[in-house]
Symmetry: C2
Subunit: 225 residues, 2 copies
Amino acid sequence: MDTKITLAIADDELLFRQGLMSILSKEKNLEIIFDAEDGNDLMAQLRATKQIPEIVITDLKMPGLNGVETTKLIRKEFPDIKIIALTSYFSKPFIINMISIGAVAYLAKNSTPKLMLTTINEVADKGFYYDTQVMKFIHEGLLNTNDQAKKSNFDTTYFTKREKEVLELICQQFTTNEIGEKLFISPRTVDGHRNNLLLKTESKNLAGLVVYAIQNKIVNLEEEF
Amino acid sequence: MDTKITLAIADDELLFRQGLMSILSKEKNLEIIFDAEDGNDLMAQLRATKQIPEIVITDLKMPGLNGVETTKLIRKEFPDIKIIALTSYFSKPFIINMISIGAVAYLAKNSTPKLMLTTINEVADKGFYYDTQVMKFIHEGLLNTNDQAKKSNFDTTYFTKREKEVLELICQQFTTNEIGEKLFISPRTVDGHRNNLLLKTESKNLAGLVVYAIQNKIVNLEEEF
DNA sequence: GAAAAATCAGGTAGAAATACCTATTTTTAT
DNA sequence: ATAAAAATAGGTATTTCTACCTGATTTTTC
């Protein structure tokens, strides 16, 4: 048959994006319709083009509109598009969340080109593709659905108690050192927690973290006026 | 007479705070009841103590609860306390805003001890004190009340078009360099705008800026879900 | 009791932000 | 026309943040 698999790619790193496009464009059965530097760019192009791609490959950590929000938007406006999420962060709750949002595949950014191609073809063919590790997480996630799935909020990525404390203080403009003093832990530990927060929220920096925290009401803004 | 003027001081910089206390404690007619490292600390001590200070001297730029929010809270819970605002930023709209919020004096952080004492005594005596510069601003601000006071929003500190653009992009996790590219201006210029934003919002860092932006709806979070 | 998750914390680097400074040009308002 | 405000942009120094790495200890979960 002659019908190519149509793709769009979103990633803020130009080099990575072009490298990926270079690899994929060698495949005869793939056609890259366009690429985008972030979610907003991607959405704009989707809304403008007459040729809607079959698959969107999107990084999760991008400035502007990140991968999580982008995925939600695509699902809403273009429900037929299949979304492959690219990330460097693998955790059970986060993957479960991404899948529940609508990603049909979840791929590490350091995967081999071979795996990338397999994923694309499987997604085009069957509509989804999860590798062994992801399948394991999904399996375990499903097992827990009934008992304690609700208490640990899958829909807001999942934070530990310490992480919430640190996030709260970050939003209150305390620096890493100050947070360390307040919580009686080393600044390096705060560093670690902040890093996990950045990973879990797929944020590029503090600004993204704060926006996330407020949007998801992890922190309380005292608005008593 | 023997009635001393009772004071509380809030400033996050320990050295500045203690220096100020050292100066003020030499005055026989002053009594410092307590000091606090930020707005939350101040409010906690106010709520706990049985001796409410007559005057609160508060820095505007503090982590946790900053001076603007602190002033609002004090006005609400302890309407009799007179608030002297300490700042390093002098602008007409901002000062007008502070006064409308309830500050009875507005003092530069690099003022002389003499001026500080004058301010305290005048505030204790007459209930307010504005130096020449501040009076000028108030005068001009009042003149404009009818025509265009409403379009330039006094109650939300006042931002220029460029500042709003930069703020928007900061909230979208773009770095200074990236913002420069997007707006076709030098990163140094973005630096300048960001610095003005920090000054105007009395924020310590990006986190404070983002919180401010969201609270005051300067930026729009695309929440279409 | 074993496994997983969370918390803790060290090192090294580099990027980004922030604090100071200064100054020119352009725009806006009166 | 004059003054004020806004936008532009340079330098230097320091702090903070972020990206990597690593591992130990404690707590939770099954």
